[in-house]
Amino acid sequence: MGKAPVPAATGKRVVVVGAGPSGLTIAKYLKKRNKAVDVVLIDKRAVFMSGFISNLVATGILPLDFITHDFLAGARNSGYHFLQATVVDVDKKSKTVYTNEGSLNYDVLVLAPGIDYDYSRWTNGDMALEERLKTQYPAAFIPGSETLTLKSKITDFEGGNFVITVPGGNYRCLPGPYERACLVADYIKKNDIKGKVIVLDENPNITIKADGFHSAFKTLYPDIVEYMPSTTISKIDLDNKVIHTELGEEIEFEDAALYPRVRGNKLLEIVGVAKDSVFNKMEADIDPFTYQSKVDPDIFCTGDVRPMGFSKSGNTANTEGKIVAEYIDMHLSGKKLGRDTWKSPLTICYSAVTSDPLKAVSVNAEYAYNDEKKAFGFANAGTMEKWNSKDGVNAGKGLIEWGKGLYRDFFM
């Protein structure tokens, strides 16, 4: 295989795989910390689209270009190389990344490829069913075509049941399915459609901002949203458009966004740095305090592949990315990373519950390590769930500014 089309490294080279919130932040802040480091950011996509804010685009509240951004802007403004390519393999011994555009060498490799879906509980290995689920009823939690499919589903919705599922495990964007339920219901209400939103939640309760979402369901959409907690799906019958639950319920649906469990991106397995976490299959097998692979300290795995149970959200990946960039800079200069160098990422996120005017709820939290439980938990957490107040309207405005701030941080 030939060499990838990037200039020869001018200093120590860090190759970052995945240009989502995590990879974009790391590439930029590595260059900010140390101009001498040569950074190559690789992504298979031609255009950036964010998962955060995408429910507002799918329901027509914001235009598509709000969440769509230019990878080249980030490369221009921060001075790293952007390579549009798909990583197919990594040779840890020779420190080589192989892509469909050729190979390149690294001193440090960062894997931030994000999630994949784990359909196995629904399909039991039936790949034809998995393909139909992915194509006809995509989860729309990996932004891109899935987002566009969801948008057209909502725009074209003529009535009946719109089913939204919430998976177990530590899935990407905890409030996302509930926000979506609110906004689809809001769309149904505004357009006077004879339809319902049925939320099938594998969890015993709404997983985050529960008071805010419950009160939004009850107050704003009493005849539209039906919330079904502790619902495990036993069978999805696509021919008859019926979902069967373990409790014997049969839920007919006209349309749906079916969100299966998530797992670590398959690239981790290819590289040989994956392991089942307590939450999900095949997440990164790393030292949770340093993000370094247990088999190779020159490989950092971060963003939504981390196994620590942090919220899988763009904002978490952004604040974490700045910290990981600092770790990598320290590692390159020979400093030892460990628990004493650990810093907590921050999770701040807003979720809309209604569109006119836009009202939202929010959560903000840090993380702390619990030595007894040997696990991370929330620390200094707070929520604002009174959407039906001045704060709720402010949070609606805050949501927009929050998103814009993240895009600025990624690309400017």
């Binding site: 900010k32 910390r33 403004n77 904002n315 604040t319 700045k322 921050l346 701040i348 929010s362 903000n364 707070g382 604002m384 704060d391 402010n394 949070a395 405005k397 805050g398 500014e401 929050w402 701030g405 993240l406 600025r408 941080d409 400017m412």
Partner: protein, 242 residues
């Protein structure tokens, strides 16, 4: 003699902009130029063009003036008590500097760039997520008020201590605006201390700068002679604060 806030700067890291103290109109603001930039010396005036008097500033009111550029908003505050002195601060990437203190009779007057050091949220004529939260109000960002808060991502800054980061995702203090308080009680802005965000700001907000300042070229111009200083409630149509 003028009562100025003298700035002592501890040299560390790389100099962002080196200004020799002797070059600053013969005045001494910093031991060396690390993270200090001198700009036009500008008098703070009210909406009618009359000089702002330090003793006339209402306590805990958010005032806005644009400095050092036509399109870069700053926050002017008369805090309820004396500020801290000789506060050691650090920029995002490790440059150290010292913020000397507030100015005025009670050493309670401070000014900071109102561009959040996190993701550059700032007051616009339309709205502001960024403001000082008076001691009588509460904020989600921190367990105490009397601080500066950006309600976009809940960064909190210590108004009485050089806008040191108290909470949130911000990686460095707000840039400070260096003020001079003269014997006739007038206030003058003379420079910027700390790592500012002006470059990224001008790059990021082209559409907004066009809307509010007739484009980024106009917005980048340096403020000369005087800077109109008005309450934030008059500068922004809507204030949003948690």
């Amino acid at each position: 003699m003028d009562r100025r806030n003298f700035l002592k700067v501890v040299a560390a890291g790389t100099a962002v902009m080196a200004v020799s103290p002797s070059m600053i109109s013969g005045r001494l603001y910093a031991d060396d130029g690390t993270l200090y930039a001198a700009y036009e010396k500008v008098q703070l005036v009210d909406a009618a063009g009359n000089p702002i008097k330090a003793s006339g500033l209402k306590p805990e009111v958010n005032y806005i003036f644009n400095y050092p550029h036509v399109g870069t908003p700053c926050l002017l505050l008369n805090l309820p008590g004396k500020t801290d002195v000789d506060v050691k601060l650090k920029s995002e990437f490790g440059e150290e500097y010292v913020w000397k203190s507030g100015v005025g009779k009670d050493r309670s007057i401070v000014a900071y760039s109102a561009i959040c050091s996190h993701q550059m949220t700032h007051p616009t004529p339309k709205d502001s997520f960024f403001q000082y939260v008076p001691t009588t109000k509460k904020t989600m960002a921190y367990d105490k008020s009397g601080i500066i808060v950006c309600s976009s991502h809940l960064s909190a800054y210590d108004a009485k201590a050089g806008a040191k980061v108290l909470a949130g995702a911000a990686g460095q203090p707000l840039a400070s605006i260096v003020l001079e308080h003269k014997d006739d009680d007038t206030l003058w802005a003379v420079g910027v201390l700390g790592a500012d965000k002006f470059h990224d700001y001008f790059k990021s907000f082209k559409p907004e700068l066009k809307e509010f300042y007739n484009g980024s070229r106009e917005a980048k111009k340096l403020v000369k002679f005087s800077a109109k200083t008005i309450p934030l409630t008059e500068f922004s149509q809507e204030l949003i604060q948690y």
